[in-house]
Symmetry: C2
Subunit: 336 residues, 2 copies
């Protein structure tokens, strides 16, 4: 399956496609826009739209299935999916590394892309604040000595010896050049799962920390962590924790802020600050989660007016009575 | 650049995106639906739609750029493109192999996917009729003794030693099991280009053979060559040559039929036979070339009526006066 994500235990494939889920392997296998080959969709008028091909190439007319991928159920209900699956890799390795600065996380990524190349299947990062939360709330063990930043690198390939050699050459390079100050390697399933848990269970740890303000942002990778630092500085002691983690390889940051309880004043300090900051660097205020109900009014931070107008025309055409997942994704007209 | 195709010397990127071009590396890097990150489009009313992000992930509203990819200029004019480029591979190898049957071509592909895995960047095939045409009309040299089928395999990777070892192990396997009866390997640029020419210059050789009836078909890979055989048997001596080649790794066949000159009776023997045959196996009658002017009436062989109706509504919404590349892609209503 070309898609994998933290919610794999509870999510459904229809929802994954309807929200254009990204997740941890997008770096390797690309987005659902490329891997979904066909869809069956029920339209607002009850008719079934059959675009359920399993061909890799089909240029007969417009690619209608794209309308429904990522439209959050507002244009039709996805009832069947055909998806292109790569071969299951014969071998998987995970390296968990500590870096002294975010600049080193980025430089390690650059070296990694060159030396691991086609076997790289994930490049995730978390800051030390995330690590403290999974240690405190979930009693997970940090296998490294404390570092300001952690990186999880996964390789997946067809030849165990080759992958191991690539990974060892890479580790030698980043350790000897002091880009990485601590590291551990996993080749067996149990340890691989334990390392992934440090990254995948951050969301769960956050829910134990109090009320969570969640942001899912795309930014040019060199700007990614500046947003966390600026938000942390801005909020000061009014927030309990301001943490950053995410799919660095895709330029996707999960910025999360916790407080003992929901506070409107804190929200006012966060928004529109985070959105304006993101818009300034041409980022996306909703990278992989979708706008849903809470963020639909914020669409203009990432999309021009002409685009939103065209989206509203599409909605009116496909769902003239507004019965499909109403009040989601698109802004109410009066708000702008 | 994630896209490469035979027409690289003359095509333009706007046209590539507007026709959702596939080409020889789709197998490795996926379709433009996944690699195009952003577009700037001029709409029918003259307004500029700016969806020119360079973020890998952006789920703020509907993905409008998908409307214009592959719509052949009938919904808007693409004026700028942002595209995700993988690192340039450090090392490239090409193997050119001969097989005794199409079944062996398929079995070789299965072995290849397992043993070359992530370094496989192209799996192309041509039949002996194609080889004879490039020899006759372009004076190209066949480096192998005559075989009924030829396969071109390309690897691209980050470690020359590893890729060579993978390729050698694979070749040993397919030769020792007699899946492959002849083969040659290229690692230097000149020989690599010479081998690729055998595949990429088939179109050119065909134009020297007379009038060419061209079909660009997607089919389940195990059915791919049956269409060539059945067409050849059906047409008998009324055709000069019936040849098959294409992107086997993507299930994409180029079926070409030549005659000394255009004959309506020959066309009547080919169509709708080829389209009906393709529809019977749920294939696509236009895999990577688009319907254009000549094939727009044939859309119903690959798309249901509800889908075409929705496409026509999209066209009416985005181009109410029908001024964008008129008479293309969508069927005229009266014809069905």
């Amino acid at each position: 399956m070309p898609l994998d994500l933290g919610a794999k235990g509870s999510c459904h494939i229809g929802g994954n496609v309807a929200t254009n889920a990204g997740g941890i392997r997008l770096l390797r296998y690309g987005s659902l826009r490329g891997t979904v080959l066909g869809l069956e969709v029920v339209l607002a008028d009850g008719r079934v739209l059959n675009c359920l091909t399993s061909m890799r190439k089909d240029n007969t007319g417009y690619d209608l299935k794209q309308l429904f991928i990522g439209s959050e159920g507002t244009l039709g209900v996805i009832t069947a999916v055909s998806i292109l699956c790569p071969r299951k890799p014969k071998t998987t390795n995970v390296a968990f590394l500590g870096c002294e600065s975010f600049a080193h996380v980025l430089e390690t990524f650059r070296v990694c892309k060159g030396m691991l190349g086609e076997v790289l299947s994930a490049y995730e990062f978390l800051d030390n604040e995330c690590m403290k939360l999974v240690q405190k709330h979930l009693k997970l063990n940090n296998p490294l000595t404390g570092s300001p930043f952690y990186v999880l690198i996964e390789t997946s390939g067809s030849n165990a010896g080759h992958d191991e050699e690539k990974l060892n050459n890479f580790l030698e390079q980043v350790v000897s050049s002091s880009l990485v100050i601590a590291g551990t390697l996993a080749t067996d399933d149990t340890k691989i799962k334990a390392l992934w848990a440090l990254r995948e269970r951050i969301t769960e740890a956050l829910t134990h920390d109090g009320y969570v303000y969640k942001y899912d942002i795309s930014l040019p990778v060199e700007r990614l962590y500046d947003l966390v630092c600026d938000t942390r500085a801005r909020l000061g002691k009014s927030a309990k924790n301001v943490v950053g983690y995410g799919h660095l390889g895709d330029g996707n940051l999960h910025l999360n802020i916790t407080a003992d309880s929901y506070q409107q004043t804190l929200l006012n300090a966060i928004e529109p600050f985070v959105y304006e900051w993101t818009a300034k660097y041409q980022g996306s205020i909703s990278a992989e989660h979708g706008l849903g109900f809470k963020k639909k009014q914020q669409i203009y931070y990432s999309k021009p007016e002409e685009a939103v107008e065209l989206m509203q025309k599409l909605k009116a055409m496909l769902d003239p009575r507004g019965i499909l997942n109403p009040y989601k994704t698109l802004p109410t007209r009066s708000s702008h």
